[in-house]
Symmetry: C2
Subunit: 87 residues, 2 copies
């Protein structure tokens, strides 16, 4: 079975996010005065072939821990969708 | 009213994504053999104060067009959630 994982890797809430701070102030200067607390992370999509949803979940979780995120400064969440083949 | 926007900015499907390619091959080398077609973009969360959901939507859409994405090489999608204040 084939799945797509949609992964969000974000800087931990407890940490400063300098890129987000810069974008917040950039937006304000451009006239977006109602904007606050911009935080910027990564959005990663992965296609994965696995026996079932559980196996795919485990693989993606491991990939997030080992390569896709840095647990010291980031946390991650993901959703898994089955990729339906047509035709 | 206060809203949170969850924005995903991704490289256009028609374009190569060198960072995604590098991560795909990195994952394969680490033993994640079922993994294909990794694509890497940005996940941005923004808090916004606006009169209603429609106004917030328009502001965020404009911010995406003007600053948060580069329409030549990226597209974006976002979801808006109302931030409920407690207490």
């Amino acid at each position: 079975m084939k799945f797509t994982a949609e992964i969000n890797v974000m800087p931990l809430k407890a940490l400063l996010d300098p890129q987000g701070k810069a974008v917040t102030s950039g937006l304000k200067k451009m006239g977006f005065t109602g904007v606050e607390n911009v935080r910027i992370g990564k959005h990663i999509t992965v296609e994965i072939e696995a026996e079932d949803a559980d196996a795919a979940k485990k693989e993606i979780d491991l990939a997030c821990k080992k390569l896709l995120s840095n647990p010291v400064i980031e946390d991650y969440h993901f959703e898994l969708h089955e990729l339906k083949m047509t035709g």
